[in-house]
């Protein structure tokens, strides 16, 4: 009965039965039109007299593309740092030594309860005053101090979220699993590598991807410390006195972020579904045996 075991979630949403892409697209275009019409009516009701300049605004797309690259660099480097630090924090939170656990707890609770903006400002304007970084060149690219502080702030902040995710994932594996593996003669690292982590990964993946998506979105705040990323590009273009089409610029900006984030969240949904399906298959095989 293989076909029964294929989880519905393992099929990408645009390929599911009864949901041809065309039909889905039509439905959403209709919903969008109704929503848009309602908003436009509200605008008119509030006395709007604005003329749109889409073609002029779209000529500035190359400026947005430059910002897009910086946003992607920031996100990738920040995510790597956050994952590495997050693992360290999770292991510290699970350490057998009490004070280490508590210290990691203080770190996690402090950063989780601060706005990212405050952390970024504290890092760049606060620590940046005390520790003066110089711009340096690596692989033909110049890294400015605000970029480095931005990556550090992103990494350190999101590590406090990822640390909790990793910890919860590892703790979700029953203690008996570890004990059984130990009694089979595996040592600690083998247990982690072959028993705990493969199972924990399934629990960790969905919240981890959503934290990484949040990281991409948080990176927009780094325009406030003068990192030349996507939002900064829009901010510099949208000057009402010189180019009076600010609405269009910010709509394009929102479109850029949707173009980065929506594929990421679809990817995470699909991965989640695959992991779920492989688990279902394995369990079924186990029952047959």
């Amino acid at each position: 009965m293989f076909w029964r075991l294929v989880n519905r979630a393992s099929i990408p949403p645009w390929q599911r039965a009864g949901r041809s892409a065309l039909w889905l697209g039509l439905r959403f275009i209709l919903a969008g039109a109704v929503l848009f019409g309602a908003i436009a009516l509200i605008f008119r009701g509030l006395g709007s007299t604005y003329t749109f300049h889409w073609s002029e605004a779209l000529r500035f797309l190359p400026r947005f593309n430059e910002g897009l690259w910086v946003t992607l660099e920031l996100s990738v480097l920040g995510a790597l740092l956050a994952i590495l630090l997050g693992i360290v924090v999770a292991l510290a939170r699970l350490s057998p030594w009490g004070p280490v656990r508590d210290l990691a707890g203080v770190y996690v609770h402090t950063f989780r309860n601060l706005p990212f903006l405050v952390v970024a400002l504290l890092f760049f304007f606060g620590l940046g005053q005390a520790i003066r970084l110089r711009p340096f060149e690596l692989l033909g690219q110049i890294f400015m101090p605000q970029f480095i502080w931005g990556v550090l702030a992103l990494g350190v902040y999101e590590a406090s979220y990822l640390g909790e995710t990793f910890r919860a994932g590892i703790q979700s594996i029953h203690k008996e699993q570890v004990e059984a593996a130990r009694s089979l003669g595996m040592h600690y690292f083998q247990v982690m590598r072959y028993v705990v982590l493969p199972q924990a990964f399934r629990v960790i993946l969905p919240p981890m991807t959503s934290t990484l998506i949040a990281l991409v979105k948080e990176s927009s705040l780094l325009y406030l410390i003068q990192v030349p990323e996507l939002t900064n590009a829009a901010r510099q273009l949208a000057i009402p006195t010189r180019r009076p089409y600010v609405f269009e610029f910010y709509t394009i900006l929102a479109g850029y972020y949707l173009a980065i984030v929506v594929p990421l969240s679809l990817l995470s949904q699909w991965l989640e579904g695959r992991l779920e399906a492989s688990r279902a298959l394995r369990e079924a095989a186990h029952h047959d045996a």
């Binding site: 203080v106 706005p115 405050v118 400002l121 606060g126 609405f247 929102a254």
Partner: protein
């Protein structure tokens, strides 16, 4: 003084637990202070710390430079946005569970387009984009009710944005109740609203509360971004103070402490609520 252990009971006596907790807090506080002072000493080689003049500005942090902002404004913004966001979130959640596909799709579109853009982009879009299109000027006239423009757009942006997250929490909570609950309530003669009121929502509440309080804490943190539309709340106050006197590190540290003073109590409250609402908690407590 060693506390006495009563081996007859499973839990050690209260005094012993309190003693251990105090010891633990002390050890951690010492370690954190040690680490921080090590960093502090290292930094003070290159940066002269001046805490006294910075701490003299605490009052300005509390009610802003013009007396109409700061900590109090942050509290006001977060309070209004929490109420509006929760109501809107509930409405959107009901739309996403509606029997009419058009309503469901509209809800889905709303939730997914807002959840997938950064809040900063949404504020900029609302204040510099939408506000420009709808009504120019320093104040908004909402059917005869005049509100300060930045406050109106800031709170509106925050509420609309958070409603998209809160609606998902409500929807998941309502859907977590098994459909047979609704069916059996209906078969007992209750109508849809009675079933919601007496059967579904009380159970969904337990699932909703922990993520909802988490989201409300996130809302307080997001309110910091309203500084970009020059709403003189806590973060903008710190920034303005920093441009007056070059005590950036000190001011931003105080700023962080102010936010922790709002969010940590909220986090503690949510932890207590969660423990109280856990299934079987009533038996455990008595």
């Amino acid at each position: 003084m060693t506390p006495e252990l009563d081996l007859g009971t499973l839990r050690p006596p209260r005094e012993y637990r309190v003693f251990k907790l105090v010891l633990r807090v002390l050890v951690v506080a010492l370690m954190v202070m040690g680490l921080l002072s090590l960093m502090y000493w290292e930094l003070s080689q290159s940066y002269p710390f001046r805490w006294r003049p910075a701490l003299q500005r605490l009052d300005e942090f509390y009610h802003g430079l013009q007396g109409d902002g700061g900590f109090l404004l942050t509290l006001k913004i977060s309070g209004v946005a929490m109420i509006l966001g929760t109501i809107l979130g509930l409405l959107v959640a009901l739309a996403r569970l509606a029997p009419l596909a058009l309503l469901r799709d509209m809800g889905t579109l709303y939730v997914h387009s807002l959840r997938n853009i950064p809040f900063l982009v949404f504020i900029l879009f609302m204040y510099f984009g939408v506000a420009e299109v709808v009504q120019k000027g320093a104040s908004v006239n909402l059917f005869g009710w005049v509100i300060e423009g930045r406050f109106f757009w800031g709170v509106l942006a925050l509420s609309l944005f958070e409603a998209s997250f809160i609606s998902e929490i409500f929807r998941a909570g309502i859907q977590s109740i098994h459909p047979t609950q609704m069916e059996s309530a209906r078969s007992l003669g209750m109508n849809y609203f009675q079933a919601m009121r007496y059967v579904i929502l009380p159970q969904a509440f337990r699932v909703i509360i922990p993520p909802l309080t988490g989201e409300l804490i996130a809302l307080v943190k997001e309110s910091a971004l309203l500084m970009v539309i020059s709403l003189p709340e806590l973060t903008l106050t710190a920034k303005q103070l920093g441009s007056q006197t070059p005590l950036q590190f000190e001011f931003y540290t105080i700023l962080a402490a102010y936010y922790l003073a709002i969010t940590l109590p909220l986090a503690g409250l949510s932890y207590l609520l969660e423990r109280k609402l856990k299934i079987g908690a009533r038996e455990e407590l008595t």
